[in-house]
């Protein structure tokens, strides 16, 4: 498995495509492309249909480019790179309309991300029986980084290429082990467990920092320039919140996006094989139970439960409302947060029970007399949660690693990180 030759210069071929599109002779093609893109604003998102339409459009354009005077005498490779340029252009333009475009997909992403967040706290290579010679933290980290890059790109081909790079790193690791450690090459028997482990680890906390930096620069301009302390505090809280709610790697949506929008003629052969392996890793995680691991069933359940508690505790601790600060956070986010906690059904907390009579109260119904009682309850809640957090941390510290913030709620989801070429456009005077 080697680096795809053409991937070495994707931007060159892409700018070549844009150049040709600026040529007056390509006016007809540009019109078709623009009207195709515009046509998407007339319909609501329907991934399967959208995928079909895009693939049909690629085929139509393939025929049109093949017969076009601008490409007269072009080699197959040149036509192919024009089509790659077309895919990138169209899918970058349609990205927000086609990526995780339906709520079900975001929901699956969130569920996977949450499960991974729990698994990260206790999963070890031996639980997947990864042989010791293949436990190479440096290689794994490299593979994780390659996979994480998937969210920095919008073009299906580039996303796919991140998966390929990740798999390439793992293959190199297997190869090195076979050469230096006399480890017998065992094909996918060795490859898949490592890929699964890397996939789980690839959503480790530091990816959130990347998203955070993207986000700070946005907020920067808007808020920090105001130089008001309150505003700055507000921004800081928002950032903390964003960090908590940070965009998960969106494994499901990325895979679905590639499957639907990568030119079908290109999702074949080795690319299809490694793509399938990541789908396989995702499926394994989704269905993962104690039986999927070399781990005692009771211990597995305990670890999952401890991870859940730690996650809840972390969220509560970091939640702006419980920090004694009067930071306004949008009611929707609050609502989601409460809902998520109550969804986890923790009877001991007794949310909504008689101990906390204000759970369903509206602001308008409160009187001045309620303030004192509310303050008392508030202090009570904070004290209890603090103790809970401490207790949980003591409990889990011996067998788990630090918790990973995972996604809850949606109102502060940072926007997709911008790909390197998002500001593209076919600009021309016509």
């Amino acid at each position: 498995m080697e680096a795809p030759a053409a991937a070495a210069s994707p931007s060159v071929t892409f700018y070549d495509f844009l150049d040709r599109m600026r040529n007056p002779a390509s006016l007809d093609l540009v019109r078709s492309i623009k009207s195709f893109i515009v046509s998407f604003s007339f319909y609501t998102a329907n991934p399967e249909n959208d995928g079909k339409r895009v693939q049909e459009f690629f085929l139509t354009m393939e025929a049109a480019i093949g017969e076009h005077p601008l490409w007269a005498g072009a080699t197959d490779e040149e036509i192919d790179s024009a089509l790659e340029g077309l895919e990138k252009y169209v899918m970058t333009k349609l990205f927000s309309r086609t990526f995780a475009s339906v709520p079900e997909d975001s929901k699956i992403d969130r569920e996977i991300s949450e499960k991974i967040g729990l698994l990260q706290t206790f999963l070890k290579p031996e639980h997947l029986d990864i042989p010791a010679v293949l436990r190479n933290e440096a290689s794994w980290l490299l593979a994780e980084k390659e996979l994480q890059k998937i969210n920095s790109f919008k073009a299906p081909r580039e996303k796919l290429s991140c998966i390929m790079s990740c798999c390439r790193v793992i293959n190199n690791l297997l190869l090195n082990a076979s050469m230096s450690e006399n480890h017998v090459l065992a094909g996918l028997d060795d490859f898949l467990p490592v890929l699964i482990y890397v996939t789980i680890k690839a959503s480790s906390p530091w990816i959130f920092l990347h998203h955070l930096f993207d986000h700070i620069s946005d907020l920067d301009v808007v808020h920090f320039q105001m130089k008001k302390q309150a505003e700055a505090m507000f921004v800081m809280e928002r950032i903390r919140f964003v960090l908590l709610m940070a965009n998960p790697p969106q494994l499901h949506s990325n895979l679905k996006f590639i499957q639907l929008y990568r030119r079908q003629a290109k999702l074949v052969s080795e690319a299809a094989y490694y793509f399938t392996n990541l789908v396989s890793a995702k499926t394994f995680v989704v269905d993962l139970s104690a039986k999927s691991l070399s781990m005692d069933e009771i211990k597995f359940e305990e670890s999952m439960q401890a991870a859940r508690l730690t996650n809840i505790a972390t969220q509560i601790e970091a939640s702006p409302t419980l920090q004694g600060q009067t930071i306004p956070i949008p009611p929707t986010a609050m609502h989601d947060k409460n809902k998520d906690i109550s969804d986890l059904q923790m009877p001991s907390i007794g949310i909504g029970g008689s101990n906390y009579p204000y759970m369903d109260a509206e602001a308008g119904e409160l009187t001045v007399g309620d303030v004192e009682r509310l303050l008392g309850l508030y202090k009570d809640v904070v004290t209890k949660y603090r103790s809970l957090c401490t207790a949980v941390r003591h409990l889990s510290v011996s067998k788990t690693e630090p918790p990973v913030p995972h996604s809850e709620g949606t109102s502060f989801l940072p926007k997709q990180p911008e790909g390197i070429n998002t500001k593209i456009d076919i600009q021309r005077e016509d």
């Binding site: 390929m164 293959n171 028997d189 690319a271 394994f284």
Partner: protein, 200 residues
Amino acid sequence: MGCSSSLPDRTSGRLAGPNIENGGAPDPKNLRVKLVLLGDSGVGKSCIVLRFVRGQFDPTSKVTVGASFLSQTIALQDSTTVKFEIWDTAGQERYAALAPLYYRGAAVAVVVYDITSPDSFTKAQYWVKELQKHGNPDIVMALVGNKADLQEKREVPVQDGIDYAEKNGMFFIETSAKTADNINQLFEEIAKRLPRPPSS
């Protein structure tokens, strides 16, 4: 060698030739075939493929590829070529439920067991049933008893393999990835059994 082996295509999913991956009509003279390998962990799936693709077995030798996706083209006597794209699967029990992701759309399934391991033969039968239920109905299936060089440790009689394969309309062969016995024959025989697209 019974087949002319060319270097495996290692261009990572890029166009291998202008007429191969464009999604157009299949070229009846140059078939491209997805082959999936199924079988228990340790039966030697990967070794069979490495032997076929690289002509080598020595597990400690310096192979230069990851062993899970490989492709190899063979030329048949009627001047057609068949390019096998070989998809390995993970043999461990915990990944069994993922197999359909791999055999979906495969034209050929090679189910491998180890003649020294009755358990692996049982597992092979499980895969055959699974493919009959959920695989592509036109799939060409081969049953392969590997490690035929270990005659003294044999626990699965040849006849058992023959009988089971016959009952299920499969091609049967015993191979040794170690000595290269029957490895090329396996793939040539599969190539002959492939349904041909009508030539125009």
